[in-house]
């Protein structure tokens, strides 16, 4: 009933690694995956946690290759060696060369690779099983695996290009007319193709139809989603890549795929929920909704007219005189300007003046969960200085200078005050409660939500217009001179 593969059972039943032996190793590998993720619960244990995960993967691979070999099943290792070599070179180079500002793109594309790998494995299993008696649940698993894997793949490719933010791609329209209807149609079509696959498992077209419809769905789902919503999308695709692997585990009857796929799926779901909560939006609203300025909101002229004060680096440097506590609020603008190292220098200069410096990190600052933390870690800033929103918000009243670098919507007090604004109810960093606020920003242009920010027009706010890196460098130069 398992057709071709049963005939391979020429092995020695007492082989060291029988199917049961492999399963034991898979179990150990699963335990290492769980320990690995557990290690990630603290920066001190995280490196070892990651090594646990990698070791678990090594065990799983060895069990898979050595199991059949030990049982006397001869196979030609050429394809395996070549495949692993190609993959290792590509993956290794990408991992070594990627810049920390490019992490969102890298995670996005890797999500896609996981998805398509699962879809291909399910496809291979489907092709092999043709002509043999197929079980209902096996076929369902194949359909689900192909569907999720394909959505993950094309969705991730689109997310990757969106994150690259290529100028040449901006001219493409991101809104598709009748988009919701189209998505629903594609989704139902893919489900129907799954049913067809289950009904007619002799036909290879069924599987490719599932994959093709799901692949188009991945594109139409991801294309309209805007840049600032990318943290949600990446987290969601992360979860999909895990679910695809888990579904493949059902296809090939393998526990280690189910366990690790579920872990990744759970991780993605949790991160997605955290990101949505941090924007006070529901998941359907992020995926299908549109965020835009409400027609009756105040115009930029109303908010800013004559009230915005700009300050030179010299003037800003003076604000730090006698300051005791400074909080830096980084946003996506800091990543774009690659200003993290300059910000580190500023931190050192301020600390040399006996000023306590902390960083306030909004959960959706940047383009992926934890984006700001990685950039600041790259710049060698102690992770103890990075404070979460809930921790630092009650203390903004005691902050002498809040320095906002390239953040906008996440510090817009309108979220608290105007129930009609598009960001109403979104938890924000209460920067406006600090004694003085300095905002480093290129211009007064609105953020992703498309609304003006009254913070910039407050009495105690000074704007330092310019490129984030350049502006901070000038500020550093002044501070150095005064020191």
């Amino acid at each position: 009933m398992i057709g071709a593969l049963t005939t391979l059972a020429a092995g020695d039943g007492t082989a060291i690694l029988g199917r049961q032996g492999s399963d034991v190793v898979y179990l150990i590998a699963s335990i290492f995956f769980i320990l690995g993720i557990k290690g990630l619960t603290h920066p001190r244990t995280a490196v070892r946690g990651n090594q646990f995960g990698a070791f678990g993967m090594l065990l799983a691979v060895l069990a898979t290759v050595l199991g059949p070999a030990a049982a006397g099943h001869a196979f030609d290792p050429t394809m395996i060696v070549i495949g692993i070599a190609i993959g290792a070179v590509i993956g290794g180079l990408a991992a070594i060369r990627v810049q920390m500002t490019g992490m969102p793109q890298m995670v996005a594309i890797f999500n896609g690779f996981g998805g398509i790998a699962s879809a291909f494995v399910a496809g291979g299993a489907f092709l092999l099983a043709i002509g043999t008696e197929m079980s209902l649940q096996g076929n369902i698993a194949i359909g689900v695996s192909g569907m999720i894997g394909s959505v993950t793949f094309t969705g991730s490719i689109v997310a990757f290009f969106k994150l690259l933010d290529l100028r040449s791609l901006r001219k493409f329209p991101s809104a598709i007319p009748g988009q919701r209807f189209l998505n629903a149609l594609l989704f139902l079509g893919a489900i129907a193709a799954c049913v067809w696959l289950v009904q007619d498992s002799e036909n290879t077209t069924t599987y490719w139809t599932v994959c093709a419809l799901a692949a188009v769905l991945g594109v139409t789902l991801t294309t309209p989603i805007g840049g600032a919503d990318m943290p949600v999308v990446i987290a969601l695709l992360n979860s999909y890549s895990g679910l695809a692997a888990a579904a493949t585990g059902f296809v090939i009857d393998n526990n280690v795929l189910i366990v690790s796929g579920s872990l990744v799926g759970a991780s993605g779901v949790i991160l997605t929920a955290i990101m949505c909560k941090a924007m006070n939006r529901s998941l359907p609203n992020v995926i299908f909704g549109k965020l835009g300025p409400s027609a009756d909101g105040p115009s930029a002229d109303d908010v800013y007219g004559g009230k915005v004060k700009s300050a030179s680096p010299d003037e800003v440097a003076m604000l730090f005189d006698g300051a005791q506590r400074v909080v830096i609020v980084p946003g996506y603008g800091m990543a774009v300007a690659q200003a993290q190292h300059t910000v580190r220098d500023l931190t050192n200069l301020l600390e040399a003046m006996d000023i306590t410096v902390e960083f306030a990190i909004h959960p959706v600052a940047g383009r992926m969960p934890g984006h700001m933390n990685v950039l600041l870690a790259e710049a060698d800033i102690d992770y103890d200085k990075l404070k979460e929103m809930d921790e630092i918000n009650p203390t903004f009243g005691q902050v002498d200078v809040a320095l906002v670098i390239g953040a906008n919507d996440v510090v817009n007090p309108v979220a608290r005050t105007d129930p009609n604004s598009p960001i109403a109810g979104m938890p924000i960093l209460d920067v406006d409660k600090a004694r003085t606020v300095v905002v480093v920003k290129r211009s007064l242009s609105p953020g992703f939500a498309g609304i003006p920010n009254p913070l910039f027009a407050m009495d105690n706010t000074y704007m330092m217009f310019g490129d984030g890196k350049k502006a901070i460098m000038e500020l550093n130069a002044v501070l150095k001179e005064n020191a």
Binding site: A4, T6, T7, G11, G13, R19, S22, S30, F33, I34, G36, I37, A46, Q51, G53, A54, M57, V61, V65, F75, I80, I82, I86, G87, A88, G91, G92, A95, M103, M106, V107, F110, N111, G114, I116, A117, F120, V121, G123, A125, L127, L128, I130, G138, I234, N238, S241, G242, T248, F250, I252, D253, L257, I258, V264, L271, G370, N373, D380, Y383
Partner: protein, 116 residues
């Protein structure tokens, strides 16, 4: 089905004779999901990016399925050649995911340190 046969039928479909029962697989799925939720909710926001890239590497576990397709497909059924090639490409994609994912996570995590 004997043990020796079991060994070489990883691509057996779940409900086939000799395969694990659906309810056993679902049990594993549910327990793993709960373990995942318990452990992952404790990951601090600082480590959310490494969590994503690390769990990404773990989702490269499809590499096991890819290897099996390449190792075990030898019989010349009508589609075995295509199945093998699918396995080969799945192997490349999954390896990129695994190697790149664990390496980049290591690179990132080495940056998270407390200054003396």
């Amino acid at each position: 089905m004997g043990e020796t046969v079991d060994l070489l039928v990883p691509i057996v479909l779940a409900a086939s004779e000799g395969g694990t029962s659906l309810i056993a697989l679902l049990t594993i799925l549910m327990l793993a999901v709960f373990v995942g939720f318990e452990v992952i909710t404790k990951v601090p926001p600082t480590l959310h990016t490494p969590l994503m890239s690390g769990s990404n590497a773990i989702s490269g576990i499809a590499i096991v399925g890819a290897l099996l397709s390449v190792v075990l497909v030898e019989e010349s059924t009508p589609h075995s050649s295509l199945a093998r090639w699918l396995g080969f490409f799945a192997l490349i994609f999954a390896t990129v995911n695994v190697v790149g994912g664990f390496l980049v996570t290591h690179r990132m995590l080495s940056m998270f340190r407390r200054k003396k």
